[in-house]
């Protein structure tokens, strides 16, 4: 392969646009800057020991969180670019091909590389603390999940600099994602990065399912688990069943593209619709994977800030389980227009509407929890208050979409776009931000500034409605999704301008949010009590930030809202007697998860360009990592009781 040919493969015209070249320069400079800074401050050893090789769920949570925020920035910039293009009819902000790439990366990144890792950040940060455990069930596997996610995310984000981005939408439907119609590495990037990150996700699902089933503190029966734990458990179960169909669909598509099979191709008897079926077999449960954890967050937040026990706990549990089962039986509503016939469509239309019932039940319970409570309007609570009406409207438009004949009109119009942003922003993003404000003190040891947080909140909330209300109307006026421009004279212009203004308001919200995080990190009020919100669940019984071993002594649980109950009885976990502290067995750091991530990245990159020597090198790396870790029995160490005593004493939690 000649040099110019190589250069053309790596840097085709689609990545030589002026804005991308500018970003290239910025990234190289930023990269060099970080490398220089690490070398100058001699942080390499620290980085390796404290972060890259860690298996501590709390640190993994921080890494997930940082990655998710960075991806929120990337996805947000994509969104602003899309809105800039659509602000005026016939605009030429971007060429059509780039517009396609940008909406593809926007959707893929927001779902797989922003929302999912953000949710896993919460699971990692909170689940072990809430159930009174010292780590997850499989700490090393947990680190592997993270590094597989990171490998997938980096691979995906590389595409716009090297080789060209995927452009077939976040769903990657054939035939357009087929090799015949879509040569070039873009779609390979998509399939490979989602495959790699998806493996990590599946492992996380298993890990948290086992953790919650097996590692709860004594006395924490199922019906005493905080609702966030229920939601984490149900989400993990959903992951376990939803991701295999996705993995299969992605792998088969990859085979079609790389090895010339024809599972989903138009030629040789392939069946493109089968991809759509498999994708949504995953996709619908996925939207509940994206929202159920936040139902859990809201249940904790609303109880804490209303100073009341959650209303109707058993009903909440039953409805969350009902949603789990029902969400497996609705996936056809994403492709009613495929034309499977009235029998199929009616069945799935009805099953979709059924889901609204348990969801409505939950909404009522949250409202009744606030009813008669002393509601504190913290930022976390404001997001909860904003979530209720926003999500209700999103759910209601979902029911409209589930009316099959109507969906033939709504499908793939801006009405659909408005619907799912209504539920995903109103449910998932608001929930994530609520959780960010609620648990930040526990993760980082300081509170986020409430005043700045309120600014960010109002910008997000108002910006959201200004952006998406016009999109419902645009959908009704016939504007379809994924069009890169439109002629004037259709009556779409004004509404699009309003929508773009809304997007800018949300962008401002993001800027204030980041300012708030950075400002609070430097100047924020330290959380010295460990219980800044007068919380109800066990994580608030610990100091912030939490010591490595979490609980010097595993607590015993006697009721729901265990920590609240202990406080009412005047008990505390902070008055340990020295003789109560014993040696603690802790998992040991390991470089394997990180190296495994690197190896998967190498395989992914090689396969994207079909450079087999690179694939083989990476593949050997994977095998070696797995062999090594399979026979590595030296994976734990003992934390001496004296060390624990010292650390507890320095936190003022030891008697005498």
């Amino acid at each position: 392969m000649s040099f110019s040919h190589l250069a053309h493969t790596l840097f085709p015209p689609s990545v030589r646009l002026p804005d991308i070249l500018l970003i290239d320069v910025g990234l190289v400079l930023a990269g060099l800057g970080i490398l220089g800074l690490l070398t100058k401050t001699r942080r390499w050893g620290w980085l390796w020991r404290e972060w890259l090789t860690t298996v501590d769920h709390k640190k993994i949570a921080v890494m997930y969180m940082i990655a998710a925020l960075v991806m929120l920035l990337r996805g947000g910039i994509d969104a602003e670019m899309l809105r800039a293009q659509l602000a005026a009819p016939g605009a030429h902000f971007m060429p059509a091909s780039q517009y396609d790439e940008v909406f593809t990366t926007h959707g893929t990144i927001m779902i797989f590389f922003m929302a999912m890792p953000f949710i896993f950040a919460l699971f990692n940060a909170v689940v072990p603390l809430m159930i009174g455990a010292r780590d997850v069930a499989f700490p090393r596997l947990n680190a592997m999940s993270y590094w597989l996610f990171a490998a997938g995310a980096i691979l995906f984000n590389l595409s716009f600099i090297i080789g060209g981005s995927p452009n077939a939408g976040w769903t990657g439907y054939p035939p357009y994602s087929e090799l015949l119609f879509n040569p070039g590495p873009g779609e390979n990037y998509y399939f490979l990065s989602l495959l790699i990150a998806g493996m990590g996700t599946t492992m996380t699902g298993i890990n948290f399912l086992v953790t919650i089933v097996r590692m709860r503190a004594p006395g924490m029966t199922l019906m005493r688990m905080p609702l966030f734990i229920w939601s984490a458990m149900v989400t993990s179960a959903l992951v376990l069943f939803a991701f295999p169909p996705l993995t299969v669909a992605l792998a088969m598509s990859l085979f079609d593209r790389v090895f010339g099979s024809s599972f989903f191709t138009l030629a040789h008897g392939g069946m493109p619709m089968m991809y759509v079926n498999l994708f949504w077999l995953f996709g619908h449960p996925e939207v509940y994977i994206l929202v159920i954890p936040l139902f859990g967050v809201f249940s904790e937040v609303v109880a804490t800030f209303s100073k009341k026990q959650l209303f109707g706990y058993p009903i909440m549990v039953v409805s969350i389980l009902a949603i789990m089962f029902l969400s497996y039986g609705t996936w056809v509503h994403h492709f009613f227009t495929m034309g499977a016939g009235p029998g199929v469509n009616v069945f799935f239309g009805l099953s979709t509407m059924l889901i609204a019932i348990p969801t409505g039940v939950k909404i009522f319970n949250w409202i009744f929890t606030m009813w008669g409570g002393r509601v504190q309007y913290t930022v976390a609570m404001l997001y909860q208050l904003a979530f209720i009406p926003t999500f209700v409207i999103g759910g209601a438009t979902g029911v409209l979409l589930a009316v099959v004949p109507a969906d033939y009109q709504f499908h793939n119009s801006y009405f659909l776009i408005a619907h799912f942003h209504n539920v995903i922003i109103g449910g998932t993003l608001f929930g994530l931000l609520s959780a960010l404000y609620y648990w930040w003190p526990k993760m980082f040891g300081m509170k986020l500034n409430e005043q700045q947080g309120k600014w960010a909140f109002w910008l997000f909330f108002i910006g959201f409605w200004v952006t998406f209300t016009p999109q419902y109307l645009l959908g009704l006026k016939g504007m379809t999704r994924r069009i890169y421009t439109y002629p004037s004279g259709l009556g779409w212009h004004n509404l699009n301008v309003i929508s773009t203004v809304g997007a800018l308001i949300m962008g401002a919200g993001f800027v204030v949010l980041v300012f708030n995080l950075v400002w609070s990190y430097v100047y924020g009020e330290r959380d010295l009590t460990g219980d800044p919100w007068d919380g109800r669940t066990l994580e608030w019984s610990l100091p912030s930030p939490v010591p490595e071993y979490n609980f010097a002594r595993i607590p015993v649980v006697h009721s729901r809202d265990a920590w609240w109950d202990m406080k009412q009885k005047g008990q505390s976990l902070a008055a340990l007697r020295p003789e109560d502290v014993h040696d603690i067995e802790m998992p040991k750091n390991s470089p394997i998860p990180f190296l495994l991530g690197v190896a998967f990245f190498v395989v992914g990159f090689g396969m994207t360009f079909k450079w087999w020597p690179i694939v083989i090198v990476g593949g050997l790396g994977i095998v070696l990592c797995l062999l090594f870790t399979g026979f590595d029995y030296d994976d734990h160490h003992h934390l001496q009781a004296d060390t624990v005593r010292q650390s507890e004493a320095s936190l003022g939690r030891l008697q005498g």
């Binding site: 455990a133 780590d135 069930a137 700490p139 097996r214 590692m215 503190a217 004594p218 006395g219 029966t221 019906m223 005493r224 069943f241 169909p245 138009l266 008897g269 392939g270 069946m271 619709m273 089968m274 079926n277 498999l278 077999l281 497996y328 039986g329 056809v332 495929m338 034309g339 499977a340 016939g341 199929v344 002594r553 595993i554 015993v556 006697h558 009721s559 729901r560 008990q571 109560d580 014993h582 040696d583 603690i584 067995e585 998992p587 399979g630 029995y633 994976d635 734990h636």
Partner: protein
């Protein structure tokens, strides 16, 4: 659901050696013997997979026979994986594993069955 099912009272927990009473919570780090069974299970899975692959690629059988043979191979492999990697007979015994297993079959059959139902419309099968 309030005061039933208590594992330990706070007082008891204080008196007892907490960590040893909660031994079951500890991560299990003990060493296993060499995983011969798993390695054979792995090789077996690979053989079964490649057998199906070769049968399909080389068109040795007529379609119906081919389908039934590869389906049989799939069932054998599912059984093998359940036994070798999913610890079907370990833990608290088969009875505990059966209920989740039924559920899994229900969901899996539901997914496959409904997919067939959905895809059996006139124009889709080209």
């Amino acid at each position: 659901m309030s005061e039933t099912n208590q594992a330990l009272t706070a007082e008891q927990a204080y008196q007892e050696d907490n960590d040893s009473a909660l031994g079951f919570l500890k991560p299990q780090f003990h060493e296993e013997k060499f995983p011969t069974v798993q390695i054979w299970g792995y090789i077996g899975s690979l053989v079964l997979t490649f057998a199906a692959y070769l049968l399909v690629m080389n068109h040795v059988l007529p379609p119906v026979a081919l389908l039934s043979v590869i389906l049989t191979l799939a069932v054998i492999q599912a059984g093998l994986q359940l036994g070798v990697f999913m610890h079907l007979k370990e833990g608290r015994g088969l009875a505990w594993q059966l209920i989740p297993l039924y559920l899994v079959f229900l969901i899996a059959i539901g997914m496959v069955g409904m997919s067939i139902w959905i895809m059996l419309f006139k124009s889709g099968v080209s």
